[in-house]
């Protein structure tokens, strides 16, 4: 069989004319609705649940930057999320660092690890890239099981919600909610900005035709690596934020099933769409919360969603919606 694929992962719709910071008018309206939802929903929904959604939305947006716009499927993103989570938890608990520094260190850890993993993995593409990232993430997992600082099976527990800038207490749920919401909106806009920058255009060119991008004089490997590091940085931030919210960092965050979960969120929401990962994170988190009482049925349901998505709506919820309305969301 030929190696040419007829349908590419994450090819978006032709984008309409941007009006503001790369946003089309419909995207701007959708963004306004998103901001309103983020601000208003804690009045009706449990803030801790919402913060979980926002952390995963950040994580999924970071993941989507790679799969949706560079065409790289990383199956090892849990490594960066989990290591970010461990480092933030450790520095907040034992060094007493303030929240923003601890989270930033989590992000930098993700980026540093991402630089190494990316440097190795971009030598191959397609399914090999997926297998390599999975294998290297597994190595990180084994490291976390053995290393003393992670607390092994217990994880790092009772992490204090450190003060923001050393001043503002984050102990009440609503205080930390604003931090999480701010971080989420910042990185959501950041990913969008990256995608619509000249840099992002080159990434898309690489996704569409790597050989041609190379022949046009772009150092495709450098572009891929930078995108990978950006993605892993945000993943680390997301992991660190989640550790502060829940006061715990455990092996669950570095396990391969977490890598699978972020893939599921992006796929379900819509690969290569701006709002898809957020929608995916919301659906998957809500589903897990609801199914938590039924034991392993969570896994079965996740698997079933994977199968149904791949067979029937590969563009994901937002992608299909956008296609119906003829909009690029």
């Amino acid at each position: 069989m030929s190696m040419e694929a007829t349908t590419q992962v994450g090819v978006g719709l032709p984008s309409a004319k941007p009006v503001l910071f790369g946003y089309t008018s419909t995207q701007a309206i959708a963004l306004a609705i998103l901001v309103a939802l983020v601000v208003l929903s804690p009045t009706v929904l449990y803030p801790v649940f919402l913060m979980k959604v926002l952390c995963f939305a950040m994580f999924a947006s970071a993941f989507n930057l790679l799969i949706g716009y560079v065409g790289l499927l990383s199956f090892g993103h849990a490594a960066f999320f989990g290591m970010g989570s461990y480092v933030t938890a450790w520095t907040a608990k034992y060094w007493g660092l303030s929240a923003e520094v601890a989270i930033l260190l989590g992000g930098l850890t993700g980026a540093a690890l991402g630089a190494v993993v990316g440097w190795l993995a971009i030598r191959r593409s397609g399914i090999y890239f997926a297998m390599i990232t999975l294998a290297l993430a597994q190595m990180v997992y084994f490291f976390c099981v053995e290393a003393p600082f992670t607390g092994g099976e217990d994880g790092i527990q009772q992490v204090p919600r450190a003060k923001l800038f050393g001043l503002v207490s984050l102990a009440p749920d609503m205080s930390i909610y604003w931090l999480v919401a701010g971080l989420f909106l910042f990185f959501f806009l950041f990913v969008h900005r990256v995608v619509h920058s000249p840099f992002g255009q080159v990434l898309k060119a690489i996704r569409e035709n790597t050989t041609r991008a190379t022949s046009l004089g772009y150092r495709t490997d450098d572009y891929k690596l930078i995108a990978f590091i950006l993605s892993t940085f945000i993943s680390g931030i997301a992991g660190g934020t989640k550790a502060l919210v829940f006061g715990i960092a455990t092996l669950t965050d570095v396990h391969w099933s977490m890598s699978g979960e972020v893939v599921l969120m992006s796929l379900l929401g819509g690969l290569g769409t701006i709002f898809g990962p957020v929608m995916g994170a919301l659906i998957v988190t809500a589903m897990e919360n609801y199914l938590a009482q039924f034991g392993a049925w969570v896994t079965v349901t996740q698997g079933a969603v994977f199968v149904i998505c791949v067979l029937t709506f590969r563009r994901g919820v937002i992608g299909e919606l956008g296609a119906k309305l003829k909009l690029a969301l």
């Binding site: 294998a135 597994q138 994977f306 590969r314």
Partner: protein, 295 residues
């Protein structure tokens, strides 16, 4: 007592044997993965789950039907093979024209479903499976005691691997399979039923995984996670070997098992990660893999 490089002989040989056994499983699983990949162009993420299913079917045959190990060795691959056949016919078939990544995502979903269902029914703790009475005990080889069952596993795996190699390299069916791997439309134009060949290949690869599962049942406890524990390492093995050659998969599988065993003797802390380190070195020096063809 003999010591080799400061390590007591029995310890060294014991770990070498364990390494060979792990290597046998790596070889059988990566072999199936690369044969399936060659023809279907998908990475079968469900391979680990189907390996686990092979072990579970053996356990079920014994506990529900009273059929012992030797029956399981034949029936379990057959049953799981038929299951694979159904999966290919009903689900995987629809993806051949799409990006390969969708195949990976679909089979990943299947793996989650299969594992989740078994975990619901049987829990996460393992269930014991007895070594068949014919293979109990151990043989004194002079320099070490060889548990008979473990010797049998290495032997059976070698036979299965070489059998697969002979089937693919030396028979008419294998020639068709290799031809279809090179150029499916052309082979189809010669009147060969390629879709059936594809189905059979998937079923065959999956049956091999189930066979490995039955062999593994008495060594590891039969539990729903046994597949996913293996499959990540097997992926690394596949990357190291490259998916171009059958013999390459077999040799890579066994040698990485041995390397892992030796690491356990000389530097136990690294034993779980050594294969991934090897993978990193191979990626730096021969990105296509040791036996791989650059795609």
């Amino acid at each position: 007592m003999i010591t080799i490089l400061g390590v007591p002989g029995p310890l060294l040989f014991g770990q070498l044997l364990l390494g060979l056994i792990n290597g046998a499983f790596y070889a059988m699983l990566s072999l199936g993965l690369s044969v399936i990949f060659g023809l279907l162009n998908i990475i079968n993420f469900a391979h680990g789950a189907l390996f686990m299913m092979g072990a579970f079917v053996a356990w079920m045959l014994l506990n529900y039907l009273g059929l012992g190990y030797w029956w399981a060795l034949i029936l379990s691959p057959l049953i799981v093979g038929i299951f694979g056949l159904i999966l290919e016919r009903t689900l995987i078939r629809h993806l051949y024209k799409l990006d390969h990544l969708y195949g990976l995502l679909l089979t990943f979903g299947l793996a989650l479903i299969i594992e989740g269902l078994f975990r619901n029914k049987y829990g996460s703790s393992g269930m014991p499976y007895q070594i068949p009475s014919e293979l109990e005990g151990a043989t004194n080889l002079g320099f070490m005691f060889l548990p008979n069952y473990r010797g049998w596993v290495v032997l059976a795996a070698l036979i299965a691997c070489l059998g697969t190699w002979l089937l693919i390299e030396k028979t008419k069916l294998g020639a068709l399979l290799r031809a279809a791997t090179e150029n499916a439309p052309l082979v189809q134009a010669f009147g060969v039923n390629v879709p059936r060949l594809v189905t059979l290949t998937y079923a065959g690869g999956v049956a091999l995984a189930a066979f490995a599962g039955v062999l593994a049942a008495p060594i590891y406890s039969v539990n729903p996670n046994m597949g996913s524990n293996f499959i990540n390492t097997v992926f690394a093995v596949v990357v190291i070997g490259g998916m171009g050659s059958i013999m390459g998969s077999i040799v890579t599988g066994f040698s990485l098992g041995v390397i892992e065993g030796l690491t356990k003797v000389f530097y136990p802390q690294a034993s779980e990660t050594v294969i991934f380190v090897v993978m990193a070195i191979v990626l730096l020096t021969r990105p296509a893999g040791l036996f791989g063809r650059t795609a």
